[in-house]
Protein backbone atom coordinates (compact mmCIF):
# COMPACT_ATOMS: atom_id res chain seq x y z
CA UNK A 1 0.00 0.00 0.00
CA UNK A 2 1.34 3.43 -0.96
CA UNK A 3 2.23 5.69 1.92
CA UNK A 4 0.41 8.98 2.23
CA UNK A 5 1.88 12.44 2.67
CA UNK A 6 -0.17 15.52 3.46
CA UNK A 7 1.43 18.70 2.10
CA UNK A 8 0.09 21.80 3.90
CA UNK A 9 1.40 24.72 1.81
CA UNK A 10 -0.25 27.68 0.12
CA UNK A 11 2.17 28.36 -2.74
CA UNK A 12 0.65 26.63 -5.83
CA UNK A 13 3.89 26.12 -7.78
CA UNK A 14 5.72 24.68 -4.77
CA UNK A 15 2.74 22.37 -4.21
CA UNK A 16 3.00 21.16 -7.82
CA UNK A 17 6.76 20.60 -7.68
CA UNK A 18 6.77 18.73 -4.34
CA UNK A 19 3.70 16.71 -5.33
CA UNK A 20 5.45 15.70 -8.54
CA UNK A 21 8.68 14.47 -6.96
CA UNK A 22 6.89 12.60 -4.16
CA UNK A 23 4.40 10.98 -6.54
CA UNK A 24 7.31 9.80 -8.70
CA UNK A 25 8.79 8.25 -5.58
CA UNK A 26 5.64 6.26 -4.97
CA UNK A 27 3.79 8.46 -2.47
CA UNK A 28 0.15 9.37 -2.46
CA UNK A 29 0.16 13.13 -2.06
CA UNK A 30 -2.76 15.08 -0.58
CA UNK A 31 -2.52 18.86 -0.46
CA UNK A 32 -4.13 21.52 1.69
CA UNK A 33 -3.58 25.30 1.57
CA UNK A 34 -5.52 26.71 4.54
CA UNK A 35 -4.15 27.02 8.07
CA UNK A 36 -7.49 27.26 9.87
CA UNK A 37 -8.75 23.82 8.73
CA UNK A 38 -5.36 22.07 8.58
CA UNK A 39 -5.70 20.08 11.85
CA UNK A 40 -9.09 18.70 10.76
CA UNK A 41 -7.56 17.77 7.40
CA UNK A 42 -4.81 15.77 9.15
CA UNK A 43 -7.47 13.91 11.17
CA UNK A 44 -9.48 13.20 8.01
CA UNK A 45 -6.57 12.07 5.80
CA UNK A 46 -4.53 10.20 8.45
CA UNK A 47 -1.24 10.64 6.56
CA UNK A 48 2.04 8.86 7.34
CA UNK A 49 3.84 12.21 7.33
CA UNK A 50 2.91 15.91 7.18
CA UNK A 51 4.92 18.58 5.35
CA UNK A 52 3.89 21.84 7.00
CA UNK A 53 4.66 25.40 5.92
CA UNK A 54 5.06 27.93 8.76
CA UNK A 55 3.41 30.94 7.08
CA UNK A 56 -0.07 29.88 6.02
CA UNK A 57 -3.25 31.85 5.48
CA UNK A 58 -5.42 32.18 8.61
CA UNK A 59 -3.20 30.22 11.01
CA UNK A 60 0.50 29.78 11.74
CA UNK A 61 2.19 26.43 11.14
CA UNK A 62 3.49 26.56 14.73
CA UNK A 63 -0.06 26.68 16.12
CA UNK A 64 -1.08 23.77 13.89
CA UNK A 65 1.93 21.78 15.08
CA UNK A 66 1.10 22.53 18.73
CA UNK A 67 -2.43 21.17 18.20
CA UNK A 68 -1.09 18.04 16.51
CA UNK A 69 1.30 17.37 19.39
CA UNK A 70 -1.47 17.93 21.96
CA UNK A 71 -3.63 15.20 20.37
CA UNK A 72 -2.80 11.61 21.32
CA UNK A 73 -3.59 10.39 17.79
CA UNK A 74 -1.04 12.68 16.09
CA UNK A 75 1.53 13.10 18.88
CA UNK A 76 4.09 10.89 17.16
CA UNK A 77 3.17 11.81 13.56
CA UNK A 78 6.32 12.86 11.64
CA UNK A 79 6.09 16.55 10.72
CA UNK A 80 8.58 18.26 8.39
CA UNK A 81 8.36 22.04 8.74
CA UNK A 82 9.17 24.37 5.87
CA UNK A 83 9.82 28.05 6.20
CA UNK A 84 11.35 30.99 4.36
CA UNK A 85 12.41 32.38 7.72
CA UNK A 86 15.58 30.63 8.81
CA UNK A 87 16.13 32.71 11.93
CA UNK A 88 17.26 31.10 15.14
CA UNK A 89 13.98 31.98 16.80
CA UNK A 90 11.92 30.07 14.23
CA UNK A 91 14.21 27.07 14.53
CA UNK A 92 13.85 27.14 18.33
CA UNK A 93 10.06 27.46 18.07
CA UNK A 94 9.92 24.50 15.70
CA UNK A 95 11.95 22.41 18.15
CA UNK A 96 9.90 23.52 21.12
CA UNK A 97 6.60 22.67 19.43
CA UNK A 98 7.95 19.27 18.46
CA UNK A 99 8.77 19.42 14.74
CA UNK A 100 10.48 16.24 13.53
CA UNK A 101 12.60 18.29 11.12
CA UNK A 102 12.94 21.96 10.11
CA UNK A 103 13.90 23.00 6.57
CA UNK A 104 14.43 26.51 5.26
CA UNK A 105 13.54 27.70 1.77
CA UNK A 106 15.04 27.45 -0.75
CA UNK A 107 15.52 23.70 -0.28
CA UNK A 108 16.41 21.11 -2.90
CA UNK A 109 14.04 18.40 -4.10
CA UNK A 110 16.54 15.73 -3.04
CA UNK A 111 16.65 17.14 0.51
CA UNK A 112 12.87 16.98 0.86
CA UNK A 113 12.70 13.49 -0.58
CA UNK A 114 15.51 12.17 1.64
CA UNK A 115 13.93 13.72 4.72
CA UNK A 116 10.47 12.27 4.03
CA UNK A 117 11.95 8.81 3.45
CA UNK A 118 14.05 9.03 6.60
CA UNK A 119 11.23 10.23 8.87
CA UNK A 120 8.89 7.44 7.70
CA UNK A 121 11.55 4.72 7.62
CA UNK A 122 10.94 4.16 3.94
Amino acid sequence: MRKRVLLIEDEPNIIQAISFILSRDGWTVDTHADGQTAVAEVARRTPDIVILDVMLPNRSGFDILADLRADEATRALPVLMLTARGQKRDRELAERFGASRFMTKPFSNAEVLDCVRELTGS
Binding site: E11, N13, I14, Q16, A17, I18, F20, I21, R24, M55, A84, R85, K105, P106, F107, S108, N109, A110
Partner: protein, 420 residues
Protein backbone atom coordinates in the same frame (compact mmCIF):
# COMPACT_ATOMS: atom_id res chain seq x y z
CA UNK B 1 34.04 89.14 35.60
CA UNK B 2 30.96 91.31 35.24
CA UNK B 3 29.71 94.88 35.32
CA UNK B 4 32.19 97.67 35.88
CA UNK B 5 35.16 95.33 36.06
CA UNK B 6 34.48 93.99 32.56
CA UNK B 7 34.25 97.52 31.14
CA UNK B 8 37.45 98.53 32.93
CA UNK B 9 39.29 95.47 31.71
CA UNK B 10 38.19 96.10 28.11
CA UNK B 11 39.44 99.68 28.37
CA UNK B 12 42.77 98.53 29.86
CA UNK B 13 43.52 96.13 27.01
CA UNK B 14 42.15 98.47 24.34
CA UNK B 15 39.08 96.55 23.08
CA UNK B 16 35.32 97.14 23.34
CA UNK B 17 33.33 95.62 26.20
CA UNK B 18 31.17 93.79 23.64
CA UNK B 19 34.22 92.18 22.06
CA UNK B 20 35.51 91.18 25.47
CA UNK B 21 32.13 89.61 26.20
CA UNK B 22 32.40 87.52 23.02
CA UNK B 23 35.87 86.37 24.08
CA UNK B 24 34.60 85.54 27.53
CA UNK B 25 31.85 83.34 26.11
CA UNK B 26 34.24 81.55 23.80
CA UNK B 27 32.69 83.13 20.72
CA UNK B 28 36.03 84.62 19.68
CA UNK B 29 39.34 82.84 19.88
CA UNK B 30 42.28 84.95 20.92
CA UNK B 31 45.99 84.49 21.24
CA UNK B 32 49.24 86.42 21.08
CA UNK B 33 49.49 89.89 22.57
CA UNK B 34 45.77 90.32 23.37
CA UNK B 35 45.75 87.07 25.36
CA UNK B 36 48.90 88.13 27.23
CA UNK B 37 47.45 91.61 27.92
CA UNK B 38 44.18 90.26 29.29
CA UNK B 39 46.01 87.68 31.43
CA UNK B 40 48.32 90.38 32.77
CA UNK B 41 45.40 92.71 33.57
CA UNK B 42 43.63 89.87 35.41
CA UNK B 43 46.81 88.73 37.13
CA UNK B 44 46.62 85.13 35.86
CA UNK B 45 48.72 82.90 33.62
CA UNK B 46 47.85 83.19 29.92
CA UNK B 47 47.57 79.40 29.81
CA UNK B 48 44.63 79.47 32.24
CA UNK B 49 42.64 81.67 29.84
CA UNK B 50 43.52 79.52 26.84
CA UNK B 51 42.36 76.39 28.69
CA UNK B 52 38.99 78.03 29.28
CA UNK B 53 38.53 78.39 25.54
CA UNK B 54 38.85 74.62 25.16
CA UNK B 55 36.13 73.81 27.70
CA UNK B 56 33.68 72.63 25.06
CA UNK B 57 36.32 70.46 23.48
CA UNK B 58 37.21 68.95 26.86
CA UNK B 59 33.57 68.08 27.58
CA UNK B 60 33.34 66.39 24.15
CA UNK B 61 36.59 64.49 24.78
CA UNK B 62 35.22 63.20 28.07
CA UNK B 63 32.04 62.11 26.35
CA UNK B 64 34.14 60.29 23.74
CA UNK B 65 36.07 58.54 26.53
CA UNK B 66 32.81 57.59 28.27
CA UNK B 67 31.71 55.86 25.07
CA UNK B 68 34.57 53.35 25.33
CA UNK B 69 34.88 52.59 29.07
CA UNK B 70 37.19 49.62 28.40
CA UNK B 71 39.95 51.90 27.16
CA UNK B 72 42.17 53.32 29.90
CA UNK B 73 42.03 57.02 29.03
CA UNK B 74 43.77 59.65 31.17
CA UNK B 75 40.54 61.62 31.60
CA UNK B 76 42.05 63.68 34.41
CA UNK B 77 44.44 65.13 31.83
CA UNK B 78 41.80 65.89 29.17
CA UNK B 79 42.23 69.65 29.58
CA UNK B 80 45.99 69.42 29.22
CA UNK B 81 45.58 67.27 26.10
CA UNK B 82 43.01 69.62 24.53
CA UNK B 83 45.20 72.59 25.30
CA UNK B 84 48.39 71.11 23.90
CA UNK B 85 46.96 69.26 20.89
CA UNK B 86 43.83 71.12 19.78
CA UNK B 87 43.87 69.51 16.33
CA UNK B 88 44.27 65.93 17.56
CA UNK B 89 41.66 66.48 20.26
CA UNK B 90 39.29 67.83 17.62
CA UNK B 91 39.96 64.76 15.48
CA UNK B 92 39.12 62.40 18.37
CA UNK B 93 35.86 64.25 19.03
CA UNK B 94 34.96 64.28 15.33
CA UNK B 95 35.67 60.55 15.06
CA UNK B 96 33.64 59.77 18.18
CA UNK B 97 30.73 61.71 16.71
CA UNK B 98 31.11 59.96 13.37
CA UNK B 99 31.15 56.54 15.08
CA UNK B 100 28.04 57.47 17.05
CA UNK B 101 26.33 58.49 13.80
CA UNK B 102 27.28 55.22 12.12
CA UNK B 103 26.13 53.21 15.13
CA UNK B 104 22.74 54.90 14.88
CA UNK B 105 22.58 54.03 11.18
CA UNK B 106 23.45 50.37 11.89
CA UNK B 107 20.90 50.29 14.69
CA UNK B 108 18.27 51.70 12.36
CA UNK B 109 19.04 49.20 9.61
CA UNK B 110 19.12 46.27 12.04
CA UNK B 111 15.82 47.39 13.46
CA UNK B 112 14.40 47.66 9.97
CA UNK B 113 15.61 44.17 9.05
CA UNK B 114 14.15 42.69 12.22
CA UNK B 115 10.86 44.52 12.51
CA UNK B 116 9.88 46.01 9.19
CA UNK B 117 6.83 44.01 8.11
CA UNK B 118 7.15 45.18 4.50
CA UNK B 119 10.74 44.00 4.27
CA UNK B 120 9.98 40.69 5.99
CA UNK B 121 7.04 40.05 3.65
CA UNK B 122 9.10 41.01 0.57
CA UNK B 123 11.99 38.73 1.51
CA UNK B 124 9.58 35.90 2.29
CA UNK B 125 8.02 36.37 -1.13
CA UNK B 126 11.42 36.33 -2.86
CA UNK B 127 12.54 33.18 -1.03
CA UNK B 128 9.28 31.38 -1.70
CA UNK B 129 9.45 32.22 -5.42
CA UNK B 130 13.11 31.18 -5.62
CA UNK B 131 12.17 27.87 -3.97
CA UNK B 132 9.41 27.24 -6.50
CA UNK B 133 11.73 28.05 -9.46
CA UNK B 134 14.56 25.99 -8.00
CA UNK B 135 12.36 22.99 -7.34
CA UNK B 136 10.64 23.12 -10.72
CA UNK B 137 13.85 23.65 -12.68
CA UNK B 138 15.46 20.69 -10.86
CA UNK B 139 12.55 18.48 -11.90
CA UNK B 140 12.97 19.51 -15.56
CA UNK B 141 16.73 18.91 -15.45
CA UNK B 142 16.82 15.75 -13.34
CA UNK B 143 13.79 13.81 -14.62
CA UNK B 144 14.65 11.66 -17.63
CA UNK B 145 11.18 10.96 -18.87
CA UNK B 146 8.54 13.55 -18.17
CA UNK B 147 5.05 13.70 -19.66
CA UNK B 148 4.49 16.53 -22.10
CA UNK B 149 1.60 17.87 -20.05
CA UNK B 150 3.76 18.10 -16.89
CA UNK B 151 6.70 19.58 -18.80
CA UNK B 152 4.52 22.33 -20.28
CA UNK B 153 3.00 23.05 -16.89
CA UNK B 154 6.43 23.35 -15.26
CA UNK B 155 7.70 25.64 -18.02
CA UNK B 156 4.70 27.84 -17.49
CA UNK B 157 5.26 27.83 -13.72
CA UNK B 158 8.90 28.85 -14.11
CA UNK B 159 7.90 31.64 -16.46
CA UNK B 160 5.28 32.93 -13.99
CA UNK B 161 7.62 32.63 -11.03
CA UNK B 162 10.49 34.37 -12.77
CA UNK B 163 8.19 37.30 -13.58
CA UNK B 164 7.06 37.40 -9.98
CA UNK B 165 10.67 37.27 -8.80
CA UNK B 166 11.59 40.18 -11.06
CA UNK B 167 8.75 42.25 -9.61
CA UNK B 168 9.64 41.35 -6.01
CA UNK B 169 13.30 42.20 -6.62
CA UNK B 170 12.43 45.56 -8.16
CA UNK B 171 10.18 46.36 -5.21
CA UNK B 172 13.01 45.48 -2.81
CA UNK B 173 15.53 47.64 -4.68
CA UNK B 174 13.08 50.56 -4.67
CA UNK B 175 12.56 50.03 -0.96
CA UNK B 176 16.28 50.07 -0.18
CA UNK B 177 16.80 53.12 -2.39
CA UNK B 178 14.23 55.02 -0.34
CA UNK B 179 15.76 53.74 2.90
CA UNK B 180 19.26 54.76 1.80
CA UNK B 181 17.94 58.22 0.95
CA UNK B 182 16.55 58.56 4.43
CA UNK B 183 19.89 57.54 5.93
CA UNK B 184 21.88 59.84 3.66
CA UNK B 185 22.04 62.63 6.16
CA UNK B 186 24.28 61.90 9.11
CA UNK B 187 22.84 62.28 12.58
CA UNK B 188 19.40 61.88 14.04
CA UNK B 189 16.39 63.88 12.78
CA UNK B 190 16.60 65.91 15.99
CA UNK B 191 20.22 66.81 15.26
CA UNK B 192 19.29 67.81 11.71
CA UNK B 193 16.72 70.25 13.10
CA UNK B 194 19.17 71.56 15.67
CA UNK B 195 21.86 72.13 13.03
CA UNK B 196 19.35 74.00 10.89
CA UNK B 197 18.30 76.18 13.83
CA UNK B 198 21.89 76.73 15.05
CA UNK B 199 22.72 78.25 11.65
CA UNK B 200 19.99 80.86 12.42
CA UNK B 201 20.90 81.32 16.08
CA UNK B 202 17.55 79.61 16.88
CA UNK B 203 15.67 82.66 15.60
CA UNK B 204 13.48 82.14 12.51
CA UNK B 205 13.04 85.70 11.24
CA UNK B 206 10.73 84.57 8.40
CA UNK B 207 8.08 83.42 10.87
CA UNK B 208 7.98 86.56 12.99
CA UNK B 209 5.56 88.36 10.68
CA UNK B 210 3.53 85.45 9.31
CA UNK B 211 -0.23 86.03 9.24
CA UNK B 212 -2.38 83.78 11.44
CA UNK B 213 -3.59 80.65 9.66
CA UNK B 214 -1.07 80.80 6.84
CA UNK B 215 0.80 77.64 5.94
CA UNK B 216 4.27 76.94 7.25
CA UNK B 217 6.58 76.33 4.35
CA UNK B 218 10.16 75.19 4.51
CA UNK B 219 12.00 77.23 1.90
CA UNK B 220 15.41 76.59 3.44
CA UNK B 221 14.78 73.46 5.43
CA UNK B 222 13.48 71.52 2.43
CA UNK B 223 16.88 71.79 0.80
CA UNK B 224 18.96 71.45 3.93
CA UNK B 225 17.16 68.78 5.91
CA UNK B 226 17.71 65.46 4.19
CA UNK B 227 15.56 62.94 5.98
CA UNK B 228 11.79 62.80 5.90
CA UNK B 229 11.74 62.42 9.71
CA UNK B 230 13.90 65.54 10.06
CA UNK B 231 11.46 67.49 7.91
CA UNK B 232 8.51 66.30 9.99
CA UNK B 233 10.26 67.47 13.20
CA UNK B 234 11.18 70.78 11.57
CA UNK B 235 7.62 71.43 10.40
CA UNK B 236 6.29 70.60 13.85
CA UNK B 237 8.83 72.94 15.44
CA UNK B 238 8.07 75.76 12.99
CA UNK B 239 4.31 75.47 13.49
CA UNK B 240 4.78 75.85 17.20
CA UNK B 241 7.28 78.70 16.69
CA UNK B 242 4.77 80.52 14.50
CA UNK B 243 2.07 80.11 17.16
CA UNK B 244 4.40 81.50 19.84
CA UNK B 245 5.43 84.41 17.59
CA UNK B 246 1.81 85.32 16.89
CA UNK B 247 0.83 85.18 20.57
CA UNK B 248 3.93 87.14 21.64
CA UNK B 249 4.96 89.56 18.84
CA UNK B 250 8.72 90.11 18.72
CA UNK B 251 9.10 93.84 19.40
CA UNK B 252 6.55 93.97 22.21
CA UNK B 253 7.81 90.75 23.78
CA UNK B 254 11.47 91.84 23.66
CA UNK B 255 10.64 95.14 25.35
CA UNK B 256 8.55 93.55 28.08
CA UNK B 257 11.01 90.67 28.64
CA UNK B 258 13.85 93.10 29.26
CA UNK B 259 11.70 95.37 31.43
CA UNK B 260 10.43 92.45 33.51
CA UNK B 261 13.81 90.76 33.87
CA UNK B 262 12.74 87.73 31.80
CA UNK B 263 10.21 86.73 34.46
CA UNK B 264 8.26 83.97 32.70
CA UNK B 265 5.16 84.09 34.89
CA UNK B 266 4.78 87.88 34.58
CA UNK B 267 5.21 87.60 30.80
CA UNK B 268 2.74 84.69 30.58
CA UNK B 269 0.16 86.70 32.52
CA UNK B 270 0.75 89.76 30.34
CA UNK B 271 0.41 87.93 27.02
CA UNK B 272 -2.24 85.44 28.19
CA UNK B 273 -0.12 82.42 27.28
CA UNK B 274 1.20 79.42 29.18
CA UNK B 275 4.62 79.60 30.88
CA UNK B 276 6.22 76.97 28.60
CA UNK B 277 5.40 79.07 25.54
CA UNK B 278 7.08 82.06 27.22
CA UNK B 279 10.22 79.99 27.92
CA UNK B 280 10.36 78.94 24.25
CA UNK B 281 9.78 82.52 23.13
CA UNK B 282 12.59 83.91 25.31
CA UNK B 283 14.98 81.31 23.88
CA UNK B 284 13.98 82.32 20.35
CA UNK B 285 14.85 86.00 20.81
CA UNK B 286 17.87 87.20 18.83
CA UNK B 287 20.98 87.32 21.01
CA UNK B 288 22.06 90.96 21.50
CA UNK B 289 25.61 91.72 20.42
CA UNK B 290 28.06 90.89 23.14
CA UNK B 291 25.50 89.15 25.35
CA UNK B 292 25.54 85.48 26.34
CA UNK B 293 23.02 83.26 24.55
CA UNK B 294 20.01 81.82 26.36
CA UNK B 295 19.63 78.03 26.41
CA UNK B 296 16.54 75.84 26.29
CA UNK B 297 15.85 72.14 26.69
CA UNK B 298 12.59 70.26 26.33
CA UNK B 299 11.93 66.69 27.39
CA UNK B 300 8.96 64.36 27.13
CA UNK B 301 7.38 62.40 29.96
CA UNK B 302 10.09 59.73 29.76
CA UNK B 303 12.77 62.37 30.39
CA UNK B 304 14.14 62.03 26.86
CA UNK B 305 15.48 65.36 25.57
CA UNK B 306 13.42 66.23 22.52
CA UNK B 307 14.88 69.70 21.94
CA UNK B 308 18.23 71.26 22.82
CA UNK B 309 19.43 74.81 22.35
CA UNK B 310 22.93 74.58 23.77
CA UNK B 311 24.85 77.42 25.42
CA UNK B 312 28.39 77.85 26.64
CA UNK B 313 29.03 76.42 30.08
CA UNK B 314 25.90 74.23 30.15
CA UNK B 315 26.97 71.01 28.48
CA UNK B 316 24.04 68.95 27.14
CA UNK B 317 24.48 65.20 26.66
CA UNK B 318 24.42 64.26 22.99
CA UNK B 319 23.06 60.79 23.73
CA UNK B 320 21.59 59.10 26.75
CA UNK B 321 20.12 60.58 29.85
CA UNK B 322 20.98 63.93 31.40
CA UNK B 323 21.57 64.83 35.05
CA UNK B 324 18.41 63.99 37.05
CA UNK B 325 19.01 67.02 39.28
CA UNK B 326 18.26 69.45 36.47
CA UNK B 327 15.27 71.66 37.35
CA UNK B 328 13.76 70.28 34.11
CA UNK B 329 13.25 66.93 35.82
CA UNK B 330 12.19 68.50 39.11
CA UNK B 331 9.43 70.20 37.11
CA UNK B 332 8.48 66.89 35.50
CA UNK B 333 7.78 65.58 39.01
CA UNK B 334 5.27 68.33 39.78
CA UNK B 335 3.32 69.05 36.65
CA UNK B 336 2.12 72.67 36.13
CA UNK B 337 4.03 73.94 39.22
CA UNK B 338 6.82 76.19 37.89
CA UNK B 339 10.36 75.66 39.19
CA UNK B 340 13.01 78.35 39.56
CA UNK B 341 16.60 77.55 40.53
CA UNK B 342 20.10 78.95 40.35
CA UNK B 343 22.30 76.14 39.14
CA UNK B 344 26.03 75.64 38.91
CA UNK B 345 27.52 73.19 36.44
CA UNK B 346 30.02 70.89 38.12
CA UNK B 347 33.51 70.82 36.66
CA UNK B 348 36.32 73.21 36.17
CA UNK B 349 34.42 76.28 35.02
CA UNK B 350 31.50 76.11 37.47
CA UNK B 351 29.31 78.40 35.36
CA UNK B 352 26.08 79.56 36.96
CA UNK B 353 22.67 80.00 35.36
CA UNK B 354 19.26 81.14 36.45
CA UNK B 355 16.83 78.45 35.29
CA UNK B 356 13.07 78.38 34.94
CA UNK B 357 11.29 75.11 34.29
CA UNK B 358 7.72 73.97 33.95
CA UNK B 359 6.00 70.75 32.94
CA UNK B 360 2.55 70.78 31.44
CA UNK B 361 0.26 68.52 29.41
CA UNK B 362 0.93 68.73 25.68
CA UNK B 363 -2.64 67.95 24.81
CA UNK B 364 -5.86 66.90 26.50
CA UNK B 365 -6.03 63.26 25.55
CA UNK B 366 -9.42 62.56 27.09
CA UNK B 367 -10.78 60.77 30.13
CA UNK B 368 -9.00 57.56 31.16
CA UNK B 369 -6.27 58.21 28.59
CA UNK B 370 -2.59 58.42 29.54
CA UNK B 371 -1.42 62.00 30.09
CA UNK B 372 1.17 63.33 27.63
CA UNK B 373 3.50 65.66 29.51
CA UNK B 374 6.32 67.86 28.28
CA UNK B 375 8.81 69.75 30.46
CA UNK B 376 10.66 72.87 29.33
CA UNK B 377 13.66 74.53 30.95
CA UNK B 378 15.19 77.91 30.17
CA UNK B 379 18.82 78.60 31.09
CA UNK B 380 19.70 82.30 31.50
CA UNK B 381 23.35 83.33 31.88
CA UNK B 382 23.67 85.13 35.22
CA UNK B 383 25.20 88.22 33.64
CA UNK B 384 21.97 88.91 31.76
CA UNK B 385 19.54 88.85 34.67
CA UNK B 386 19.19 89.84 38.29
CA UNK B 387 19.92 86.64 40.17
CA UNK B 388 17.56 85.93 43.09
CA UNK B 389 19.05 85.03 46.42
CA UNK B 390 18.52 81.28 46.29
CA UNK B 391 20.65 78.32 47.36
CA UNK B 392 22.87 77.27 44.43
CA UNK B 393 22.01 73.82 43.07
CA UNK B 394 25.00 71.77 41.91
CA UNK B 395 24.21 69.89 38.73
CA UNK B 396 26.10 68.06 35.97
CA UNK B 397 25.73 66.98 32.38
CA UNK B 398 25.31 63.23 32.82
CA UNK B 399 26.59 60.88 35.51
CA UNK B 400 29.44 59.34 33.55
CA UNK B 401 31.24 62.63 33.03
CA UNK B 402 30.18 64.35 36.24
CA UNK B 403 32.76 64.68 39.02
CA UNK B 404 30.17 65.56 41.71
CA UNK B 405 31.02 63.71 44.92
CA UNK B 406 28.32 61.89 46.91
CA UNK B 407 25.52 62.80 44.54
CA UNK B 408 22.23 61.31 45.75
CA UNK B 409 20.99 61.02 42.17
CA UNK B 410 24.01 59.22 40.72
CA UNK B 411 23.04 56.39 38.35
CA UNK B 412 26.49 55.06 37.64
CA UNK B 413 30.08 55.78 38.65
CA UNK B 414 31.86 58.68 37.00
CA UNK B 415 34.87 58.11 34.82
CA UNK B 416 36.32 61.32 36.31
CA UNK B 417 38.00 61.78 39.65
CA UNK B 418 35.22 62.90 41.97
CA UNK B 419 35.20 66.36 43.50
CA UNK B 420 34.39 66.95 47.13
Amino acid sequence: MAGVRQVALARTVGISAAYLNLIEHNKRRIGGKLLTDIAEALGVEAGVLAEGAEAGLVADLREAAAGLPGVAVETARAEEFAGRFVGWAGLIVAQAQRIAGLERTVEGLTDRMAHDPHLAASLHDVLTTVTAINSTASILVDTDEIEEEWRDRFHRNIHEDSQRLAESSQALVAYFDTAAEAEASAGSPQEELERWLAARDYHVAGLETVEPGSAVDLPDAAAQIGSASGQVLTKRFLRRYRGDAQAMPLAEFTARAEAQGYDPLALAAGFGTDPAAVLRRIAALPTPRGAGAIGLVICDGSGTLTFRKPIDGFALPRFGAACPLWPLYQALGRVTAPVRAVVEMSGRERTRFLTYAVAQPVAVTGFDAPSVIEATMLMLPVDRVAVPDLPVLQIGTSCRICPQHDCPARREPSILAEEA
